[in-house]
């Protein structure tokens, strides 16, 4: 008896698999698609080769003066020469290790918070939030423990951008949460104060806040009393951003079903405990995208301090481009600044996605 043996399956026809089939299905499925595809290819051909040759192939990488930039492409020598200034501003060169050290302290100090097996996250995290700013401030500003004082007017570059952004975020988040709770409070006095605060700060542009803090405020202070410019800007940024955070958090609070509030009350939890243990954890998780959105906007808004003469990354670039020996290098500088900003903002948005994923408890639709 012969066993019936099936012939092996024939492979799918050639025009159904592989890159050709994919291209047919996705790029050339109709005459309109074909037209759009060709147009897109034309655009790529127009943009990519010149871009590549400007940024990489024809670019000048080595040298130390403008005269070394002999090729047609970008002159990255400029970035290389001014790199220290873009990163640290006018922070004295021999003291820059202090900036590096504070960054490393932040990275190492915050690392346990990202290890899921680490047990005492809440206590450690709070402790870190209290200790680190004091430590970082002492390191950066100096003036005691044998460290030379470095006035904030010498801070600049990416370092200043990061200082403003992190202080802004760390200050605005707790303040924003309190404001959101206050706005939903049953106590009229607190509610009125919070609503007024939020609506006031949301109603003015950040640029106005900064401008007022640097141009108007000094006029009302007694002569000779110099309120640190950076501090003024930081306070302005925190107050301004906290109003936005408050509204985002309020959105989260309103999304929590009433049953949760009642359940917490039925358990005998008081106001702070029901908020802290039941409501806020759920609400904050819901509004992670909104909060991160606000913080990304804040990070980019730090470049507005240009208006009050602080030298953040963007302003350092602008200023370096005004150096007579490097005139005409503004494009390279701005491209570099854009790249740095993009790296940080993209990093933040990826982290927020990771956080959402980790905290997801199946409510996502």
């Amino acid at each position: 008896m012969t066993t019936h043996v099936f012939k092996p399956d024939m492979p799918p026809p050639g025009n159904r698999i592989g890159i050709v089939a994919w291209a047919r299905a996705n790029l050339f499925s109709s005459w309109l698609n074909t037209l759009l595809t060709l147009f897109a290819f034309y655009l790529i051909w127009l943009i990519v080769p010149p871009l590549l040759s400007w940024t990489i192939l024809d670019a000048n990488w080595v040298g130390s003066t403008r005269a070394d930039c002999t090729k047609d492409g970008a002159c990255w020598v400029f970035i290389q020469q001014r790199f220290g200034q873009f990163m640290y501003g006018y922070y004295p060169t021999e003291l820059r290790w202090r900036v590096d050290l504070s960054v490393w302290l932040a990275v190492i100090g915050a690392a346990p918070l990202f290890i899921s097996r680490f047990k005492h996250k809440a206590i450690y995290g709070l402790g870190f939030l209290v200790v680190y700013p004091i430590l970082a401030y002492s390191l950066l500003h100096g003036g005691h423990w044998g460290l030379t004082n470095v006035a904030t007017s010498q801070w600049g570059g990416l370092m200043l951008t990061l200082v403003i952004a992190t202080v802004g975020i760390a200050g605005a988040l707790p303040l924003g949460i309190l404001l959101a709770l206050g706005r939903r409070s049953d106590m009229p006095a607190i509610r009125v104060v919070c609503v007024t605060f939020i609506e006031f700060w949301r109603g003015v542009p950040l640029i106005t806040v900064l401008f007022m803090s640097s141009v108007m405020l000094p006029l009302f202070l007694p002569e000779g009393m110099n309120f640190d410019k950076l501090l003024r800007a930081l306070i302005g940024v925190i107050l301004f951003q906290s109003a936005y955070v408050a509204e985002v958090v309020r959105g989260g609070l309103q999304a929590i079903p009433k049953g949760q509030y009642e359940a917490a009350a039925a358990m005998g939890l008081g106001y702070w405990r029901s908020m802290g243990l039941v409501i806020l954890p759920q609400a904050l998780k819901l509004v992670i995208p909104g909060i991160v959105n606000t913080f990304i906007a804040l990070f980019k808004d730090t470049s507005l301090v240009i208006i009050i003469g602080l030298f953040d990354l963007l302003n350092s670039v602008k200023q370096a481009a005004a150096d007579p020996t490097w005139l005409g290098m503004a494009t390279e500088g701005y491209v570099f600044a854009a790249l740095v900003f993009w790296i940080f903002c993209f990093g933040m948005s990826r982290y927020s996605m990771h956080l959402e994923h980790k905290l997801d408890t199946g409510h996502k639709r």
Binding site: M216, D323, P324
Partner: protein, 342 residues
């Protein structure tokens, strides 16, 4: 850079005046001596006038004026701290006492001199609005610019100056305004406009940004007066005199041929009575200004005379390569003239 002339600045100044009283004469000098340094307001980056180098040291003619003041007061040109100010905050910074002297390419005008609680101590640089054109156009004078397309930086008084000039000469033009000087330089290069207009000192800086600077030429006409100089608070005559005479001393030193190289030797051995008075070898002219006897020696030896400072920051040896022009001494074809020390 006349952006600073914005109405906002004026409004701010008006408020300032109503809020803060005037200091008594000599308050600034006392304050400066107590602090141990001169707090000097400079621009936030203007080629040749004040711009930080790689190490953050501020270079430029505006910055050197402040160094000279420090040299006169303390005998040490390094005893100066710089505040980099943008156009909007500069007057507030001076009025509120944040800076002792504002040396920030600020045009001397009647409203600023009389109406804002401050006084100009002199002119460090005679500037004016000019035109930068491509050689190919074959234009030799601004009068031939009828029908030209002109790149202007928005929000500056240059806009006003250009429109006044063209109306007065019955010429037509098409303005294209840009926010930054980099954009306008690119537009001139790409041919979007025939002419680039700005303060002459800045046109030279703009020219170095172009791929082939030698293809472009700055036209001889200057269509507005922009005397730039240091500013101090009103009502403080001692300090005002020190800043004013620091500038005069630098000019007098150049006129007398005193340079940073020979000043020390000249102070000891000069036979010329003018030079002897200037350098403190004869008489006590420093005392009238509440300055040490050798104040001019300190200024010239540490910072240089006016000509040296000009050459170092703006002159032929720099990428800007600006002619002395109006800024030459009066006996050399220019209008820089200083009263004598005696």
């Amino acid at each position: 850079m006349k952006q600073l002339k914005s109405t906002l600045a004026l409004a701010t100044a008006a408020i300032v005046l109503s809020v803060s009283g005037f200091a008594h004469a000599g308050a600034t000098l006392d304050g400066v001596k107590k602090k141990g340094f001169v707090q000097c307001g400079v621009s936030d980056g203007l080629p040749g006038f004040s711009v930080p180098d790689k190490n953050g040291k501020i270079l430029g003619i505006d910055a050197d004026i402040c160094r000279a003041v420090a040299a006169a007061v303390f005998g040490d040109a390094t005893k100066v701290k710089f505040s980099q100010l943008n156009a909007k905050e500069r007057f507030t910074a001076l009025q509120s006492g944040e800076v002792d002297v504002l040396s920030r390419n600020t045009t001397w005008t009647s409203s600023r001199d009389a109406g804002m609680g401050m006084v100009f101590a002199g002119v460090t640089y005679y500037d004016g609005v000019g035109f930068l054109v491509n050689n190919k156009l074959g234009v030799k004078s601004a009068k031939e610019l009828d029908g030209a397309t002109i790149c202007i930086q928005a929000g500056t008084t240059t806009e006003l100056n250009v429109s006044d000039y063209f109306r007065a000469n019955n010429l037509k033009y098409t303005p294209i305004t840009f926010d930054t000087s980099d954009e306008s330089a690119k537009s001139l290069e790409s041919g979007r406009c025939d002419v680039l207009t700005s303060d002459k000192s800045q046109l030279y800086a703009q020219r170095t940004k172009l791929a082939n600077p030698n293809d472009y030429v700055v036209l001889p006409e200057t269509i507005s007066k922009e005397p730039l100089g240091p500013v101090v608070r009103k009502g403080d005559e001692d300090w005002f005199s020190i800043v004013k005479w620091t500038l005069f001393a630098m000019l007098n030193a150049e006129e007398a041929g005193i340079t940073s190289k020979n000043v020390v030797a000249e102070a000891k051995s000069t036979k010329n009575p003018d030079v002897a008075r200037l350098l403190g070898a004869d008489g006590e002219y420093g005392k009238d200004l509440k300055l040490p006897k050798d104040w001019v020696v300190q200024i010239v030896s540490q910072v240089g005379n006016y000509g040296e400072v000009f050459e170092k920051n703006l002159g032929k040896s720099t990428p800007l390569a600006i002619d002395r022009g109006l800024n030459a001494l009066w006996n050399n074809g220019g209008i820089q003239y200083a009263p004598p020390v005696r």
